[in-house]
Symmetry: C2
Subunit: 403 residues, 2 copies
């Protein structure tokens, strides 16, 4: 992403997100919002600074070791920069003194910047010390209800990756320092992935190697298939937490008999900046950046002819096309870029367009000056090139999905 | 805001923003995006962690004293949590080695969480230790061009507050530790304001008292009017910086003669969470929260009759109205809430609706069962109550502005 001018390095593991990246990230957040709200998620926003007292109560203040950024305020009170918010959200829910079983399940989520003092930050946004994460926390009346919620979040994750056109594998995972009894990772298969996965050839079983003994070669589920090793980039993680946190902070609701009852919890992360980086990694080629169609910073780039070239007269037509598209097609408003650096050749600007990953590049050349004007359209995500009339162009772009 | 269930306290000066607040804040950010992009602003996102080295070069590492949250990473390197990003953005621009005068003015902005270790955090979101701020930085080819940019940002701020329906005064201000030669504050007049303003009765002059000698009573601009003292809440601040930062970090561009030239800078802040809190403060009454219309978390609340009441049969009509509104009027999609807690009286739910500040409350009672159904509509921002047919309802709500 750095080579393409999408990010710029700051401190180790910290990056400036440049304008195209911010546009793409905002689109991703909209897709996430849609999917989380479709299953009843409510969006809130919790402080980054978290008091050490809360983390000491779960013993994570000690457990997290050097991964936790720690600081003191002017009164020498201890704080951390939250990498995750189990303590904070459970305390919040515990303070809702009138919470009734009728209001559960409660699915609270946020999309905020998280902090983790990685020993070796690397691979740009894939393993940084500051990153955006969507973290959701669920509160349920019973174990059964909580498993139902867990399932529904996993399904929402699967829908999300499918909408982005990304192949994603849900694998059994270790619960790490978050705790709980059940956990899955959502992995995008990729050679540069840091996680090792074992995937059964015969059934749907797959797991992070951490959860199995290293010499296991037979599938523990079907007992038939052998396990194949592959690599993946973790982009999501779900945990069934049970009462681990709700017991500590007394996050309770009134049950049907009006008795205070401790809630069953789950937590569910999605690496927002990591999904962007991983998607570009798995979709792009050496010459071209490819974004998931929905997330491209801009959908369309229009290239007028070079100044002084034979097709020079088509310049006004190009401006017209660019204006017309965003005017006629409401979903393309703000999505069409006119690259009017007409002192440069079409070829050079086309190269830039490929590097930025516009799904559709429209070259306005001599064809546009013919009696029946034709436009060259390069569909970067499929590799197709087409020659279309203006109506054909509108028909093609009318179907582009945006968010 | 805390009383209304919009925020919940965490550490001193840190708050959970609850779902209604997040909705409102996201709307405010959209208005800000529109106004900043209308004057050529490009949105990026800079790290919160900033290396002490950068801040030492501008001497702000020492100057900021205890207001700066400081921490060390696992390698004992010093960082601060950025309250503002002059150092970071100037370094970024300095690294763009091919920056040409053709690309200026460059207006870079972000809307991110900022940190300031306030000695006495108070008044909820008005003076917190974590808060959202929009900070923009401009880079220009000359002093003249930079003053033009400064003006255009001030005008954008004025448009923004006017769209929000908030009276805002632009006053001369002190440049504080940011530095530079010219500065204005944007103040919302309010009794709880912490800033003291002197406003001339005769001309347009107004200033923060900090910029004048305490015994000044005559207007220094028109020499005629006397200065009246009033109080204000600072919601925005603009600074003309000149070359203070660009000289230090060597933020240069190629001029028309292709010679490297140091850029002229400005910086411009808007307190995002503070605007929300201040707006509620100046617009609300003791019984009701009022939002700027554009920023209300939801525009419409529909109240079906109490279960078992005489109007019970109108329940289905209420559901119909709620569904119909967000179906027929595209701009109200997701903006209509059906308060179906029908075990509660209309009166009790109406009180809640007032506390949450829906601009429009539709009471579906016996009138809805008449041959020519009528609906009671309470417009909270104007205090009007109307009785409208379904068509009248649609006509009224069609004109509601949303973002």
């Amino acid at each position: 992403m750095q080579q393409a001018g999408l990010i710029h390095p700051s401190n180790p593991g910290c990056y400036y997100y440049l304008p195209a990246t911010v546009r793409s990230m905002e689109k991703l957040v909209r897709v996430i919002d849609q999917e989380m709200q479709a299953i009843g998620g409510q969006k809130l926003d919790m402080p980054s600074l978290c008091s050490a007292d809360l983390w000491r109560r779960t013993e994570r203040w000690e457990l997290m070791g050097k991964e936790l950024f720690r600081l003191q305020d002017r009164h020498s009170a201890d704080y951390c920069l939250s990498p995750t918010h189990e303590e904070a959200v459970t305390t919040l829910v515990a303070h809702q003194s009138t919470l009734s079983y009728r209001q559960l399940p409660l699915l609270l989520y946020q999309v905020t910047r998280k902090f983790r003092d990685e020993p070796k930050p690397k691979l740009g946004l894939l393993r940084g010390r500051e990153f955006y994460m969507k973290d959701m926390y669920s509160f349920d009346v019973s174990e059964e209800a909580a498993y139902g919620t867990y399932e529904s979040v996993c399904e929402a994750y699967t829908r999300l990756f499918s909408r982005l056109g990304l192949r994603c594998v849900q694998v059994q995972a270790d619960t790490g320092n978050i705790g709980g009894t059940l956990s899955h990772e959502f992995q995008l298969p990729a050679d540069i992935g840091e996680d090792k996965l074992l995937v059964c050839e015969s059934c749907s079983f797959s797991a992070n190697v951490e959860t199995l003994t290293s010499d296991q070669t037979n599938c523990p589920k079907c007992n038939i298939g052998t396990l194949e090793l592959s690599k993946g980039i973790e982009v999501g993680h779900t945990f069934y937490l049970g009462k681990k946190y709700s017991n500590i902070f007394n996050a309770a609701f009134s049950n049907t008999q009006n008795k205070p009852t401790i809630a069953e919890m789950g937590c569910y992360g999605l690496g927002v900046t990591r999904i962007l980086a991983a998607a570009i990694e798995v979709l792009s080629t050496d010459e071209e950046i490819r974004w998931p169609g929905l997330l491209a910073p801009y959908q369309v780039c229009v290239l007028p002819p070079k100044k002084g070239s034979k097709a020079d007269d088509a310049s006004a037509i190009a401006e017209d096309v660019a204006r017309g598209l965003s005017g006629t097609l409401a979903h393309l408003k703000g999505e069409v870029v006119l690259d009017d650096r007409i002192h440069m050749t079409i070829g050079k600007r086309l190269k830039d367009a490929k590097r930025l990953g516009y799904p559709y590049v429209i070259v306005v050349g001599q064809g546009a000056l013919e009696e029946q004007p034709k436009f060259e359209v390069i569909c970067q995500n499929t590799g197709e090139t087409m020659f279309l009339s203006k109506d054909g162009l509108l028909d093609l772009l009318r179907t582009v999905e945006t968010v």
